[in-house]
C-alpha cells in the first residue's frame, strides 16, 4: 500500500509549486491511473514515491514505512519502474537489462538466468531469440516489453510506470495495455501509472486520480468519474473518450 499525506514539491529553480498538498492512497493490487496534462505534476508525484524526487513537505508511506527513513537505493530496488521513452541500457543485452535488478540484489547467477527466461516468456519474447540481442536491434514494442520485464525482475509488489505506452503505435499499444492489465491482475501488483491519455486510464485503471496545476482534482473509479465529474476540468478531459465512444457506437450500429 502506498499513502501520500499532504505531499508538496517546490523546485528551487522554478519557485512555483509542482505538486501542492496531495493526499491519496493506492490499495494493494490496485492499478491507479495518474492523469492530467503536461506539467500538471503527475510525473513529479510518481517520482516522489521511489525518491527520484524528494518531497518538499508531507509524508509518503510505502508498505507501512515512511520512505524518508528508508535507504533510497534499497527502496528503489524493491519497486519496479517502467520509464518514459523506455530507458533500457543501450550497452547491455536484453538479458543483462532484464537481469540487472536481481544482479544488484545479488541473486545467484543461475537464478537470475532462470528469472530472465521466465520474464521474457511472460512478455511473449522467445528467450532463445531475444536473450542476447541489443536494445537497438528491437522494435519499439519489443523494447517496452523488455522494459516491463526489467521492472518485474526483482519480484516487486509495487510497480511505477511513467507514460509506459506513449511512444508505441496504436496496435502495439493496445496489445501491451491488454497484456499488462492481465499480468497486473494475476500477479496482484500495486501499480501507479502516469498517463496523459484518458482513454488508456479509463480502460486500464481501477481508480483514476486527475491532477491539474499540481493539485489533485478528483479520485475515483472510471465509472464514478464518468457519472459525476466534480470539476469542469475533469469533465473536459473525459469529453474526448466520450465523443470517440459515441462515434464508434454510431458506426457499429448503422452497419448496413
Amino acid at each position: 500500500m502506498i499513502r501520500l499525506e499532504q505531499v508538496s514539491k517546490v523546485f528551487v529553480e522554478s519557485g512555483a509549486p509542482a505538486v501542492q498538498s496531495v493526499t491519496l492512497e493506492v490499495h494493494n493490487g490496485e492499478l491507479l491511473g495518474l492523469v492530467g496534462q503536461s506539467g500538471c505534476g503527475k510525473t513529479t508525484t510518481l517520482k516522489m514515491i521511489n525518491r527520484l524526487v524528494e518531497p518538499s513537505s508531507g509524508r509518503i508511506v510505502v508498505d507501512g514505512r515512511d520512505i524518508a527513513n528508508t535507504d533510497a537505493v534499497e527502496l528503489r530496488r524493491g519497486i519496479g519502474y517502467v520509464f518514459q521513452g523506455i530507458g533500457l541500457f543501450p550497452h547491455m543485452t536484453v538479458s543483462e537489462n532484464v537481469g540487472i535488478v536481481p544482479k544488484l540484489l545479488q541473486w545467484e547467477p543461475s537464478l537470475i538466468e532462470k528469472r530472465v527466461d521466465e520474464l521474457l516468456e511472460m512478455m511473449s519474447l522467445s528467450p532463445h531469440d531475444y536473450r542476447d540481442r541489443m536494445p537497438r536491434e528491437l522494435s519499439g514494442g519489443q523494447q517496452q516489453r523488455v522494459g516491463v520485464a526489467r521492472a518485474l525482475a526483482g519480484r516487486p509488489n509495487i510497480v511505477l510506470m511513467d507514460e509506459p505506452f506513449g511512444a508505441l503505435d496504436p496496435v502495439t499499444r493496445d496489445a501491451l495495455q491488454f497484456e499488462f492489465k492481465s499480468l497486473q491482475k494475476s500477479l496482484r501488483l500495486t501499480v501507479v501509472m502516469v498517463t496523459h491519455d484518458m482513454t488508456e486510464a479509463l480502460l486500464m485503471a481501477d481508480r483514476i486520480a486527475v491532477m491539474h496545476m499540481g493539485q489533485l482534482l478528483q479520485l475515483g473509479t472510471p465509472r464514478q468519474l464518468l457519472a459525476h465529474p466534480d470539476h469542469p476540468h475533469v469533465a473536459a478531459l473525459l469529453e474526448t473518450p466520450r465523443r470517440h465512444a459515441a462515434r464508434l457506437e454510431d458506426l457499429l450500429r448503422t452497419r448496413p
Binding site: N50, L52, V73, E74, L75, R76, R77, G78, Y81, F83, Q84, G85, G87, L88, F89, P90, H91, I100, V101, L104, M134, R150
Partner: protein, 509 residues
C-alpha cells in the same frame, strides 16, 4: 645502405625500447591521474573550469621548454624529468574526453540507472563509463600520439629516446640518423594510434572479441618494443656502467665516444649520454648521475663559478681545480691539451673588404652587420663581456642550430658568427677568427671533470689519465672535420683520436 645508416639502425632497438618505456609510463600515469580527476569534476561542476584551464595552459607550453623546466624543478636529469613533463603533457585529451564522455550520457539512461536502484558508484561503473568508453579511448589515442612525438625531446634532458638519432644526426650532419629517428617515432605513433583505434571501434560496437584482439595487438607491440630493454637489464644487471656525458655538439660527441672506448678497453663498462644542456650536465656530474665529461675552463669560470675577471691560464686552472673540489667535490683531472674557445668569426671576404682582423676593428663596423649564433651564446656571460668590453652593437641578432649557423654565413644570411676555435668548418667555410686583444674572453681549455664517486675509483682515473695533454688543437679540429665535413661516423672520429693519442702524433700547441 651506407655504413652510417647501418650504425644508426643498430642502435634503434635500444632507443626504441627506452622511448616506448618512457611514453608508456607517462601515458599510464596520465590515465591513472586523469581518470579519477575527470570523474570527480563530472560530479563537482565548480572544479571543471579550473581543472581544464590548468591542463590547457600546460598544453600551450612548448614541449622542449616543459621538459627543460623539469630539470631544475626535480634537481636531476634523465628519466624522471622527462617522465613528469610527459605526464603533464598527456593530461588534457584524457581529462577532456573522459569528462565529455561522462557528461554526454543520455540523461534518460542515467535516470533509469537511479530509478532501478543503482548506487552512485554502480551508476558510474556499469552505465556511465561503459557508455563513455569510446570517447574516453579516443582521448587516450590523441594523448598517445602527442606523448610518443614529444618523447623525442627527452634526449636533451638526459633520457634515452628516439630523439637521440635526431639530435646527434642534426649535429653531426648525418641526415640518415635524423630520418631513422623521425621515421621510427612516426611509425611507433601510427602503429599505436591504429591499434587504439581498433579498441575504440570495438568499444563503440560493444564487441568484446574485437576489443580483445586490439588489446592483444597492443601487447605484442609493447612486449616486442620493450624486449631489448628487458634482455639488457638481465645482461649487465650487476655492473653499473660508467656514464660519460656530452653536450650538444660534434666535438662533445666525439670526445664522449673516445672516453667510452678507452674505459671499455680498460675493462670498465661504459656508456655515453649525448646531447645534454651545458648547465644540466654539470649538475648531473656533481650529483653523480654522470661520471665524467669534458668541459671548458672558461665555461666553468663564468657559468659555474660566476666569475667575470680574466686570469692567466695557469692561475685560472689552479683556482678552478680547488674551487670545484671544495664546493662540489668534483675532480678536475687535467687539460686535454687543446683549447676550444668561443670566438667571433667572419668570412675571409668580409675581413679583406672591411679590413677587420680583431674585435676592436669589428666594433666600429658592427652596427651595419648581422650576427648569428647557437642557442646558448647570447645568453652566456662571455657574450655580455664581449659586448661590454668592445661596445659591440649589431644591426641584427639571430639564433641557429650550430650546424646551420655555418650555412647562414656561407649564404650571407649573417655576417658574423660565434664559432668554436676547434671547429673543422672554420677552414672549410673560409672564415677568419677575430683576435681578442683586450682579453675579454677567459681561456677555454678542454678539461676532464670527474664526479665525486668517479674520482674515488683508481681504475677509472688510471684509464683516463693518459689522455691528459694528448690532444692538440689540430688533432681535435681534424676529428671534428671528419664528422662535420667528411661524413664519417662519430665512432670513426673517436677511433681516429685514439690512434692519434696512441702513436703520440699529437702535439700540444
Amino acid at each position: 645502405m651506407s655504413e652510417r645508416t647501418l650504425a644508426e639502425l643498430a642502435l634503434l632497438p635500444v632507443t626504441l625500447s627506452h622511448h616506448l618505456l618512457l611514453s608508456l609510463s607517462a601515458l599510464s600515469s596520465g590515465i591513472l591521474i586523469c581518470f579519477p580527476l575527470a570523474v570527480l569534476i563530472s560530479r563537482v561542476k565548480a572544479l571543471q573550469w579550473p581543472a581544464l584551464t590548468v591542463a590547457s595552459i600546460v598544453q600551450t607550453i612548448p614541449g622542449l621548454a616543459l621538459l627543460a623546466l623539469m630539470v631544475p624543478l626535480l634537481g636531476q636529469i634523465g628519466f624522471l624529468p622527462a617522465f613528469f613533463a610527459l605526464v603533464l603533457y598527456s593530461m588534457l585529451p584524457i581529462l577532456h574526453n573522459t569528462l565529455t564522455g561522462i557528461l554526454g550520457v543520455d540523461p534518460a539512461v542515467i535516470e533509469a540507472a537511479r530509478g532501478i536502484g543503482m548506487t552512485t558508484f554502480q551508476r558510474l561503473s556499469r552505465v556511465e563509463l561503459p557508455l563513455a568508453a569510446p570517447v574516453i579511448i579516443a582521448g587516450i589515442r590523441t594523448s598517445t600520439v602527442w606523448v610518443v612525438g614529444t618523447a623525442t625531446l627527452a634526449t636533451p634532458v638526459g633520457a634515452t629516446s628516439l630523439g637521440n638519432h635526431i639530435f646527434s644526426g642534426l649535429q653531426t650532419q648525418n641526415p640518415a640518423a635524423v630520418i631513422v629517428g623521425c621515421l621510427a617515432a612516426a611509425a611507433l605513433a601510427v602503429t599505436l594510434d591504429q591499434l587504439i583505434r581498433l579498441l575504440e571501434n570495438a568499444a563503440r560496437r560493444r564487441s568484446r572479441r574485437a576489443g580483445l584482439a586490439a588489446v592483444a595487438g597492443l601487447l605484442v607491440v609493447l612486449i616486442g618494443g620493450l624486449a631489448p630493454l628487458l634482455s639488457n637489464v638481465r645482461g649487465n644487471g650487476p655492473l653499473t656502467p660508467v656514464v660519460v656525458g656530452a653536450k650538444t655538439f660534434t666535438e662533445q660527441y666525439v670526445l664522449a665516444e673516445f672516453l667510452t672506448l678507452r674505459l671499455r678497453q680498460a675493462g670498465l663498462p661504459a656508456l655515453s649520454k649525448m646531447s645534454m644542456g651545458s648547465t644540466i650536465l654539470f649538475e648531473a656530474l656533481a650529483s653523480g648521475q654522470v661520471d665524467c665529461y669534458i668541459d671548458y675552463s672558461g665555461t666553468i669560470w663564468a657559468n659555474v663559478m660566476k666569475r667575470s675577471d680574466v686570469q692567466p691560464r695557469a692561475v685560472l686552472l689552479d683556482e678552478m681545480t680547488h674551487w670545484l673540489q671544495a664546493n662540489h667535490h668534483v675532480k678536475l683531472l687535467g687539460s686535454l691539451g687543446f683549447e676550444n674557445t668561443y670566438a667571433l668569426a667572419i668570412s675571409e671576404e668580409t675581413a679583406a673588404k672591411q679590413k677587420i682582423s680583431s674585435l676592436l676593428e669589428l666594433s666600429s663596423r658592427a652596427p651595419a652587420l648581422r650576427i648569428g649564433s647557437d642557442y646558448e651564446f647570447f645568453g652566456r656571460p662571455e657574450w655580455l663581456a664581449l659586448k661590454a668590453r668592445y661596445g659591440l652593437r649589431f644591426a641584427e641578432q639571430r639564433t641557429f642550430d650550430p650546424s646551420l649557423m655555418y650555412e647562414a654565413i656561407r649564404t650571407k644570411s649573417v655576417d658574423v658568427i660565434s664559432a668554436y676555435s676547434t671547429d673543422g668548418r672554420i677552414v672549410d667555410y673560409k672564415l677568419v677568427v677575430l683576435a681578442d686583444p683586450l682579453g675579454a674572453l677567459p681561456p677555454y681549455d678542454a678539461v676532464l671533470l670527474l664526479s665525486p664517486d668517479a674520482a674515488k675509483r683508481p681504475e677509472l682515473v688510471a684509464a683516463l689519465a693518459p689522455v691528459m695533454g694528448a690532444i692538440s688543437d689540430r688533432t681535435m679540429r681534424e676529428a671534428n672535420k671528419m664528422v662535420d665535413m667528411e661524413r664519417h661516423s662519430v665512432t670513426e672520429a673517436a677511433l681516429f683520436l685514439q690512434e692519434a693519442t696512441k702513436t703520440g702524433k699529437a702535439q700540444t700547441q
